[in-house]
Point group: C3
Amino acid sequence: MTLPLQADPEVIAEGVNLVWVFVATFLVFFMHAGFGMLESGQVRSKNVANQLTKNVLTWGIGVVAYFVVGAGVSVAIAALTTGSGLSGVFAHLDAGSTGWANLLFGAAFSMVAASIVSGAVAERAQLGGYLVFTVFVGALIYPVATGLTWGGGFLSQLGFADFAGGAIVHMVGGICGLVAAYVVGPRIGRFDDDGSSNVIPGHSLPYAVLGTLILAFGWYGFNVGTAVSVFQVNEAGELALADYAYAGRVAINTALVMGAGSIGAALVGYVRGGKVDPLMTANGLLAGLVSVCSIAAVASWRGTLVVGLIAGIQVVLVFDLLERVGIDDVCAVFPVHGSAGLLSALAYPFVNTTSAFSVTQLGIQVVGVVVLAAWAAGATLAVYGVLKLLGRARVDREEELEGLDASEHGIETYPEFGGSVVDESGPRG
Amino acid sequence: MTLPLQADPEVIAEGVNLVWVFVATFLVFFMHAGFGMLESGQVRSKNVANQLTKNVLTWGIGVVAYFVVGAGVSVAIAALTTGSGLSGVFAHLDAGSTGWANLLFGAAFSMVAASIVSGAVAERAQLGGYLVFTVFVGALIYPVATGLTWGGGFLSQLGFADFAGGAIVHMVGGICGLVAAYVVGPRIGRFDDDGSSNVIPGHSLPYAVLGTLILAFGWYGFNVGTAVSVFQVNEAGELALADYAYAGRVAINTALVMGAGSIGAALVGYVRGGKVDPLMTANGLLAGLVSVCSIAAVASWRGTLVVGLIAGIQVVLVFDLLERVGIDDVCAVFPVHGSAGLLSALAYPFVNTTSAFSVTQLGIQVVGVVVLAAWAAGATLAVYGVLKLLGRARVDREEELEGLDASEHGIETYPEFGGSVVDESGPRG
Amino acid sequence: MTLPLQADPEVIAEGVNLVWVFVATFLVFFMHAGFGMLESGQVRSKNVANQLTKNVLTWGIGVVAYFVVGAGVSVAIAALTTGSGLSGVFAHLDAGSTGWANLLFGAAFSMVAASIVSGAVAERAQLGGYLVFTVFVGALIYPVATGLTWGGGFLSQLGFADFAGGAIVHMVGGICGLVAAYVVGPRIGRFDDDGSSNVIPGHSLPYAVLGTLILAFGWYGFNVGTAVSVFQVNEAGELALADYAYAGRVAINTALVMGAGSIGAALVGYVRGGKVDPLMTANGLLAGLVSVCSIAAVASWRGTLVVGLIAGIQVVLVFDLLERVGIDDVCAVFPVHGSAGLLSALAYPFVNTTSAFSVTQLGIQVVGVVVLAAWAAGATLAVYGVLKLLGRARVDREEELEGLDASEHGIETYPEFGGSVVDESGPRG
């Protein structure tokens, strides 16, 4: 008899899974263009080139730091917190083709966490100091967070659940940004002596919205791509769907939560003053996306809509709170990533359709976010604190007033549009 | 003897088809960024934030409306027009992972139709009224169109052919936009009392062109993605190519038609006045893409080039016609989507390489576009007519002159670039 | 006994390979949006619409030229230089679905080469003449380069290695741009009579950086997509990984080289004047991507970092050199694509991990780049030389001073932002 043609399930799974990992990785990479536009739109024209340079070099320096050091740190932390050995910590450097492909997906995630920070310290952080901090995020701060969790460390063993990194990526990034913004201090003119705050509008809302929509596009790779394996080979040796058994749920939740988040933020503005705030609506969409990260694989679409709506509402309220306590988080990265990421991780036991609500799970989630938040805050305080002592955290008063494009780069971003005229008039400089 | 390893064709097909559906869906989603830039570039700087807010909330509100209500309406319309029962109308709400993945592809299509409208009524439509209309598009107008056709309703049974929605998505969206623009009325200053028209240039051609190229990128998902199944399992139980048997034809036609459309529109300007119009050239590229939607799977590349060239030429001519009849279609959505979509559906029997020209098929196509156009026009007239009666269609004269960013959102989009200076001088406000 | 279900390895390979080809092709197409923004950001506001029109029509006209003529020329050149027959030269026109899908990947590559040129001759090249040249690039210049190499022509038989086209696409495009810029001559005001050069800053750095990041995103399709086959069927009739056996290496090298290139270019500015140049940092990232094209499939990540660093450094130095010899390469296309592509092809034998360093291979690489460079330079000199003789290479002095948007298109790109004010003051026009 003639035997059937051979199609080894292992081979099918490896090839198709790789196609998917590549697609997801490319999309997550593209989020950098989103961050670049989102952040540069929210700064004044005199600081645009500086912000964009930070974005380009965040990837440039950060991805090398993550690849050469950070990925190994993640393995080491997982090993250290679970008592296993440290052998193979730097095995990823010679992982080979398929190993590197999977590693790159993680590297792209690490740079999302790093990118978040640049929005918080915009318009006054020194380029050099910021880049040193980025090396720490890529090589240490983020890898410790993944080592404790996705890498198999003690939070993972405890049962901490954070599917696509609502806490691990976004809350960590948002807290790093918040603490860095606190250490660096507010921009000149942001707060008056009596504690009242002044709005310093960004120079281009279209950039911010374009950045938001690029981020949303890339987020499909971030969330649905975290359902990383299309196929697996089951114990009977048969090809079976792997994470793709639930990837459609992740996708529909990701799509719908943008609606809930944007509506939530729009409603706050409308209820307060009868007007919908365009930037906050965009931020609400992003906060919705953050808030679904931990729960996307297990929440119903109804649960997702509720969490997303809360995420959108809290963006505005938390941003106001930061203003009241005098922290100048230029691009609202803490409301969008930090508190929305916290919400996501804590919402997990409430919206998990795969098991009943469990106080134990809630406790685990609390432990997880506390550990991760403490690590992110402490590490940032240490690194940016030292940078501040060394005079590397912030540009001089004159440089800030002149603008970082001129003082740090010697250029003018819009030589034809007379942005400098604005600098001479009033509170904006 | 050893049996071969097991790779069930059904499993292979489900997993790989899902990868492809995800890729296509993400691309179609990204078209929203394209619409956002295309439209915001074509409005004056005083209305940019409003336009972008409409874009963000079109997805935000519209996708929820489509998912919760619209997808069920589509099923119901298909059932009602073919005499089958209404059971399972809302089954999609609990469709499960793979079902939701496929549903999201449709949801992204629905929001393309909805987004088209915002370009037609730009610079004077109220945000609130527009959003109410968007809910109707997502929940009713577009779902009825798909229920009659792709959903299996009576036009489908009649044999109406519209592969990727030249008529179902684009013509319907374009007609909704046209009628909405008619009901809302032209912008102040667009037409003089003697009926002559004034050009009101948009504030940023680069945004419009960037939007065009983002749309073109996403359109590959829209068109080639409509060849939705990579694999199927044939009657012998074997794995076989499904829509992928012709997907390459769709891809090459999609790529080439951009050329034909852009060349067609560029030629009209060149022949008329010796100058190539940049915006019309971009619109011609888009009209080419619309014109290939109905025919991409069956047309030869030669037929595609001819149809695309006509589509590009008609963009300019139809836009002029609208000016002459006093309709202010700000972003030329009717020439680009409406009439080009009509062209696409009617061209089908002429360029179909899979069967000889058939007068019957042409008649069916005419019936299809008439039914769809009548539905889109009538529904829009009803909804926007009621909005007008309620005073929700259009902002006040003062608000329009001041700009919708200030009047509806209380912000200035470009605080540093003195857009307001322009508003004080002459015909632009 | 029951036979296993049938999953023919050939069918699996064809379907999955097509998914991947589509993804890669769409990404490479999207690079046009990147070129559009990169180039339009580097020109003055009076020439923006012209630059964008060139970008749109490069794809529009060029892809048709490549498809109808160029792809056949490539086959013919391969046949002629290897002594095989000319039958089947235009077989691609009726290639059928899968054939067209693969052809479109090549067509998208051809338009990368064509797009590079428009950045070199910006702000003074006539639209008509440029488009004629684009037809030559798509129909002749680029196809000859691929016919000699990837198509199987004599350089291929010699053993010339150029994985993703560091020389074939980028060096060829960069040299076409360089020679065209030389023939067209520098912009008015770019060089003084004493040979000293003036900086003419572009009007929008954010566009340039956004374009860079879009290009980087698309480059994953360009590089990793060149590992074009996920699966193949081996001689035993079994499904096996094809190019995907090394695709992960390509991906990680592509990601890391952006870091090396951007750091290299940033360092040059920092070392020279204590300041990081934003635009050169972005150009360094791109030059890094060019420099990895020839070597991505065989270099170690360490070798990649070294080559990328050199690529980033040389961007600044080569750009300075061009200034010194009086060539006005507006968008630095020769440093970014030309010399970095040359570097890539010549670096191949030094960083190839699959075989020891070979002087013979180095010699072959030298022959390859000399032949390709001579062809690109000679063909460009001929075509643009004739255009110059016919008065079609460059706009008049008055038109250039007024700006190409007004003189060639009769429009103003930013009607509200008073770009024309700048033109009246000083050296910029």
